[in-house]
């Protein structure tokens, strides 16, 4: 996993608003691409738009850049309505999915492109280009032909070119999707570092949930033109407000459940296989209506107990149906007694404890605090 030193930034909630969407709708002909987007993005925030392909992430990003007119509602940047502000004067710059490096120009001509309109001597501009190249780790590449660069280098040129104008907001449309896994992970760390360094708002579009979790201060999960949940990564992972969000982010087990009583911030439920238990109302982030529903829990919140091992948590017996060995981890699919479909359990492989075989009877420890209740 990537790590970046934390400089204890101000809490998100206390920062001034940079972008505001007010009931934004967008139609392409009859197609309703954005269906009432309401959200605020704070100054200096690393914000991600996450969702499956075609859910409207790019469209929403382009309404900020000014490339897409909205059908109704309002987009505000730094408190100003953007309705009549064309893209070329908005305080935003964009890193395109294809990078859009000008193939007929050199690296430094690409990076310095936005400076054409600015005052200042050419020596001053050359210095700024050099600085921008250094910032993205391309010092000395200025004279190269842009079309001869590798994917990762093009990405850096695109970043330098967008950042040189010191925009209030940097927009990134799936900037890492064209890179291989290693390069992608390296660029994730670099993007976080860059964002801390320049301190401006970054808005990232991605369909990769892991990327969003690693990089973002907050994430808006989108489905079909709507924001399903907007929260920080930990909340999204631990307290998804719908099965759809839960399924999109990481792996989530589901079991049928029934709400028994609801009182004083506590909810009593009966879960198939696990039996009766009580959870906190905060563990039901989506609206619940009572009656038949389901609970979810992440694979790592379950533990398989070994022969003779005892637990202070609740335990349920089951049979191992599938074993997938990952080196540091093993994934077990275990069918709990009295449950229709197996649940996935991830166990860290510890020296001295063998990987268990298919068909082994086992006991699974779980705690009510790790459950999420869905409607």
């Amino acid at each position: 996993m990537n790590t970046v030193p934390h400089a204890a930034p101000a809490p998100i909630a206390s920062r001034p608003t940079m972008i505001e969407f007010r009931d934004v709708h967008k139609y392409y002909g009859d197609y309703h691409a954005l269906r009432g987007i309401n959200a605020t993005i704070k100054a200096g925030e690393f914000f991600s738009l996450l969702g499956p392909s075609g859910c409207g992430k790019t469209t929403l990003l382009r309404t900020i850049a000014g490339f897409e007119d909205i059908s109704s509602g309002a987009v505000l940047i730094d408190g100003k309505h953007m309705a009549d502000v064309p893209a070329n004067v908005r305080p935003t710059n964009m890193v395109f999915q294809s990078y859009a490096i000008f193939p007929h120009l050199t690296v430094e001509q690409n990076v310095g492109f936005g400076l054409r309109r600015e005052g200042g001597t050419s020596a001053e501009k050359a210095r700024r280009v050099e600085e921008a190249l250094e910032m993205v780790g391309l010092k000395g590449y200025g004279k190269r032909a842009a079309h001869a660069l590798s994917g990762g280098q093009r990405q850096r040129v695109a970043l330098a070119r967008a950042l040189i104008l010191k925009p209030k907001v940097l927009l990134l449309d799936e900037p890492l999707s064209a890179l291989d896994k290693k390069m992608r992970e390296q660029m994730q760390v670099e993007l976080i570092r860059l964002q801390r360094q320049v301190g401006i708002t970054f808005i990232l579009v991605t369909h990769d949930q892991e990327e969003a979790l690693v990089m973002s201060d907050r994430i808006a999960v989108m489905f079909e033109g709507q924001i399903a949940q907007l929260a920080d990564p930990e909340t999204l992972y631990r307290r998804p407000n719908s099965r759809q969000v839960a399924n999109f982010i990481g792996v989530m087990n589901f079991l049928p459940a029934r709400v028994l009583t609801e009182a004083a911030g506590r909810i009593a439920i009966d879960v198939q296989g696990l039996g009766q238990t009580e959870i906190d109302a905060t563990q039901a982030p989506g609206a619940i209506t009572g009656g038949e529903t389901s609970v979810g829990f992440r694979p790592e919140t379950l533990t398989m107990l070994y022969e003779g091992q005892t637990t202070t948590e609740r335990e349920t017996p089951g049979t191992i149906e599938e074993v997938v060995y990952y080196g540091d981890m093993t994934y077990y699919d275990v069918r709990l007694d009295g449950v229709d479909s197996p649940v996935r359990i991830s166990m860290r492989n510890v020296f001295g404890r063998p990987v268990l075989d298919i068909g082994t009877r086992t006991r699974v420890a779980w705690s009510a605090g790790a459950l999420v209740l869905f409607r």
């Binding site: 710059n93 964009m94 294809s98 859009a100 000008f102 309109r117 001869a148 967008a162």
Partner: protein, 268 residues
């Protein structure tokens, strides 16, 4: 065996295509008025004779003016049309583009005649510019076809990026779009120039008293003693065409190399 037949076909085809052209320089340098073998001896007098034909000079000048003007006009119109058809969706686009491309398949004699009737009908005197009009009309579809391909291969986000970086729509076009479609523009200019230069029917109908090169050549074929000089003229034209294509191909390849684009085939 199949390959053999194909090779034979290719050889025959090339002979059929190029033999007449090879004959041009042979007889242009032949010291005889009659076009027949055996050859009589080497001479350059037919080329020298070209210098003493004032009507030829006028025809050449007219043809050049017409070819340059109509290729520039057709290419300019082509840029607008190709740009509109590749970037924007509008109602009736398919039908409109079809109409614009129609002269491509319309018999030229029909185009020439209808233009002539219109021009005479509204009482306009025939002159060089009426030929330019006709040639622009027939060259524009070719220009659009070539330029559409060029605009189509242009990534839309390149223009958006330039606009995003503060340029106006116009300067974006000048700084990004134009340089990147330049190979297409050169191709279009060249093809239009060539089409116009050797076009006969429209020039014949619409030129009035101003001869163009093909019209002049046709008129001279009635005088047998002029034929070797025409051969010499033809030789010069072939040499110039080859030179022109070579230059254009050079610029096209250089353009490709500069932008690192894939070679999708040119003229040569």
């Amino acid at each position: 065996m199949k390959g053999q037949g194909l090779r034979l076909y290719a050889i025959l085809y090339l002979i059929f295509l190029y033999a007449p052209i090879v004959l041009l320089p042979i007889f242009a340098f032949n010291d005889a008025t009659i076009i027949s073998f055996p050859l009589r001896g080497f001479t350059t007098k037919w080329f020298a004779a070209l210098a003493d034909l004032p009507t030829l000079h006028l025809a050449l000048k007219n043809s050049l003016i017409i070819a340059v003007s109509s290729s520039v006009l057709a290419t300019t119109l082509g840029i607008f049309a190709a740009r509109a058809s590749t970037r924007y969706e509008f109602p009736g686009k398919g039908g409109l583009m079809g109409l614009i491309m129609l002269p491509l398949v319309l018999p030229e004699v029909i185009v020439a005649m209808s233009l002539l009737m219109v021009l005479l009908g509204i009482g306009i005197d025939l002159a060089i510019w009426t030929v330019i009009l006709g040639h622009t009309l027939i060259c524009t579809p070719f220009a659009i076809a070539i330029l559409s391909a060029a605009f189509q291969s242009l990534d839309k986000s390149l223009e958006e990026a330039a606009y995003d970086l503060g340029e106006s729509k116009l300067s974006t076009f000048r700084l990004i779009t134009l340089p990147l479609v330049m190979p297409g523009i050169i191709s279009s200019l060249l093809i239009s120039f060539t089409i116009s230069l050797d076009e006969f029917i429209i020039a014949f109908f619409l030129a009035g008293s101003e001869p163009t090169l093909p019209v002049y050549i046709y008129s001279q074929l009635r005088f047998p003693k002029q034929i070797p000089a025409i051969m010499a003229l033809g030789t010069i034209l072939v040499a110039l065409s080859v030179l022109l294509l070579t230059i254009a191909e050079y610029f096209r390849r250089r353009g490709l190399k500069k932008t690192g684009a894939k070679d999708t085939g040119g003229f040569l």
